[in-house]
């Protein structure tokens, strides 16, 4: 995946700063709670939500099971419609393909509509290295780009910013990139939107190359679909002469009719809208209408390896609605940056360690970035059991095991730093399978209860730094039970 995020510290460390940042926590709390409540309302309006969720899950599972077949079908359909399909095994290959395609047009500027796939591979940086400027046109992406910042949410990449901060970024940075912000810009939403509109319009009208992602690809017709709220995407998709779409291979659905399910579940789950304002679909090229050259770059980048994992593969059902982020209490406190990936929150915690492996510190810590409260699973419109996958990946971290990497089976060794924990777990298992040992331990603890510290050393310090420990009781339950037989022939 992108080089942008490499060398990140483990999640707990990355989260610490966010937890202590009151502005950030306030911004996140406000934004996630607002959208959370709205989503619940939008979902409750649909009487057959449970069935839609199940249908979405099944369609995706079926597609993933026959992914090879549907991808070939898609390629044929796109080609027949006048498009060109490129296959990219990893980030480097995808970046190379796109860079060459842009170079062939002779242009040095491209407009982009928000695409997670291109962020995942670090396309903007790769283009920049070749002297090609990529302009983000999604409002939130624009804020992130102008602020020289990183996205922190799937749908609202600038969720960590408030209006005042956005005003400052616009006033300071817009002139460097194109049309400057109007004089005396205030932080009212209407003024901010207008400033962005003027700034972007100039770019749309100038650009000859557009780069997009897609929410869905329909195998039977070769159609790509983008779902958005602002209309900027539609401009990116229709105004340029050349359109390059970079899409993860898991975004495919078999038939046009399958969209019926997702076009209901996606907007309600993501923006809490009954229907999103703009749904654009494009199929190859059409004479004298829209882009005259269309390229589809199909991106693997760890996806077929993920598909090989029985438990973990369900992460590929994700339709990037971001509902799981908005309900996640950990995301709410830690912020999106702590996840070290373009995919933050619960889905990021299971997707990144699968796409990238668990080799780095951050990736080995992500499966633990959850209290397993299950709120993410409950809201997920394609029923991804995120807690199940998290526990599965924890197993991989502490025990190692067989995984597929670049198509080959490899055996992972356990991640470093878990030796003490493993020993403790083994010891506890031993005590728990020998009830007499457990009892001896309890008695010893009771007898020495007056000497127990209320703060703990080692890893326990983190606990007692913010919480009081419970006192050890004078008598464990089982001793009381034996003494009294449940109060029957004892002292009660």
């Amino acid at each position: 995946m992108s080089g942008t995020y490499l060398g990140m510290p483990a999640f707990p460390e990355a989260a610490r700063e966010a937890v202590g940042n009151a502005t950030l926590r306030g911004n996140l709390r406000h934004a996630t709670h607002t959208i959370r409540a709205k989503r619940a309302t939008a979902v409750s309006e649909v009487s057959d939500w449970a069935e839609l969720r199940e249908a979405g899950k099944r369609i995706k599972d079926h597609t993933l099971r026959h992914l090879d077949r549907y991808l070939v079908q898609l390629e044929e359909a796109v080609t027949a419609a006048g498009g060109v399909v490129h296959w990219a095994a990893d980030a480097a290959e995808a970046n190379e393909i796109v860079t060459q395609l842009v170079k062939m047009t002779g242009e040095s500027e491209v407009v982009k509509v928000k695409s997670m796939a291109t962020q995942e591979i670090g396309l903007n940086e790769a283009l920049e290295a070749e002297g090609i400027h990529a302009y983000e046109t999604d409002l939130a992406e624009l804020i992130v780009q102008l602020g020289k910042d990183r996205p922190s949410h799937i749908l609202v990449p600038a969720i960590h910013r408030n209006r005042g901060e956005i005003r400052d970024i616009f006033a300071r940075e817009m002139s460097e990139w194109g049309r400057p912000a109007p004089e005396g810009l205030t932080d009212t939403p209407a003024e901010l939107a207008e400033a962005a509109r003027l700034h972007l319009r100039e770019k749309f009208l100038r650009a000859k190359v557009g780069i997009s992602g897609a929410n869905f690809m329909v195998a039977e017709t070769g159609t790509l679909v983008v779902v958005e709220s602002e209309g900027n995407g539609r401009m990116c998709l229709t105004l340029p002469e050349t359109l390059i779409s970079v899409v993860g291979i898991e975004k495919i659905v078999p038939a046009w009719q399958d969209l019926e399910v997702f076009l209901q579940t996606l907007p309600r789950s993501s923006t809490a809208e009954r229907m999103n304002p703009y749904t654009s679909t494009w199929t190859g090229t059409t004479d004298e209408d829209g882009p005259q050259n269309f390229h589809l770059v199909l991106l693997d980048n760890g996806r077929t390896d993920t598909l090989a994992d029985e438990v973990g593969r369900q992460a590929l059902r994700c339709i990037r609605c971001s509902a799981c982020l908005n309900v996640c209490p950990v995301y709410e406190r830690a912020g999106g940056h702590a996840y070290g990936s373009v995919y933050p929150g619960p889905i990021g915690a299971i997707l990144s360690p699968q796409l990238r492996g668990t080799g780095s510190e951050i990736d080995a810590s992500l499966p633990y970035a959850s209290s397993l409260c299950g709120a993410c699973y409950e809201v997920c419109p394609v029923a991804i059991d995120i807690p199940e996958v998290l526990v599965h990946l924890r197993e991989r971290v502490v025990q190692g095991g067989e995984v597929t990497r670049e198509g080959n089976k490899v055996v992972l060794r356990p991640a470093k730093g878990h030796a003490a924990e493993r020993a403790a777990m083994r010891a506890a298992r031993w005590a728990f399978t020998h009830p007499g040992v457990l009892r001896g331990g309890q008695r010893a603890a009771s007898r020495t209860r007056r000497f127990h510290p209320r703060t703990l050393p080692g890893p326990g310090r983190a606990w007692s730094g913010t919480r009081e420990l419970p006192p050890v009781p004078a008598e464990p339950f089982r001793d009381w039970w034996q003494r009294t037989r449940g109060g029957k022939d004892g002292d009660r």
């Binding site: 209290s371 397993l372 990946l393 506890a428 009830p435 339950f477 109060g487």
Partner: protein, 251 residues
Amino acid sequence: MRVALFLTCVNDTLYPDTGRAAVKLLTRLGVDVDFPMAQTCCGQAHYNTGYRHEAEPLARHFSDVFGEYEAIVTPSGSCGAMVRELYPRMGERARAEGRGDTLAATLAPVVPKTYELTEFLVDVLGVTDVGAYYPHTVTYHPTCHGLRGLGLGERPRRLLRAVKGLELVELPGADECCGFGGTFALKNSDVSAAMGADKVRNAESTGAEVLCAADNSCLMHIGGTMARLRTGMRPVHIAEILASTEEEPAV
């Protein structure tokens, strides 16, 4: 009816009062309670931290100890969810790993007859008024595994509403996790503490004297945070409230 009390290792060791309350309550309702002395731990901490293979012997031990009983009752939503939700999954995983059906077959008998305490009262005994008396203002925190794992729903609140003298006040953000999450509290202590503090602030805003839940692990985290933030509120397990009577009121 003769049931086995699965108290859980945490309650046995740190919260024996909850166990005594559960015995008192069930006995009062005419249930013959047994406490199999060989019981230990359901293996949840092992399983959830990624040590599934260490959890398997514990699950087998659980089945050996409890397999013969008509019903198994536990005052812990998360340990109940471990048996009901995750034991079947452990069996499936063993099968997927080519280890045959032995584990699944060993664990299967205990899965359907394990009940969380409030679930047992409402669904099996069919009572909501357990004849309790508890003259305090109480707010209820539905713990994640009870809420989403077992789907306890309104059962605990219905039981509490029927308690004489008890005033139940709604907890803002009730469905949000308190931040305990087992080893999560150790591994991600900053986020965990922030979640706990928010939970406690919400609880404080209700003006209740007591925060009640059906899981002592969450109560340990919430109570520890309450004590540190000097709120004066107390964490109390629901079993202790339901066991309290006019003759023998809980303190």
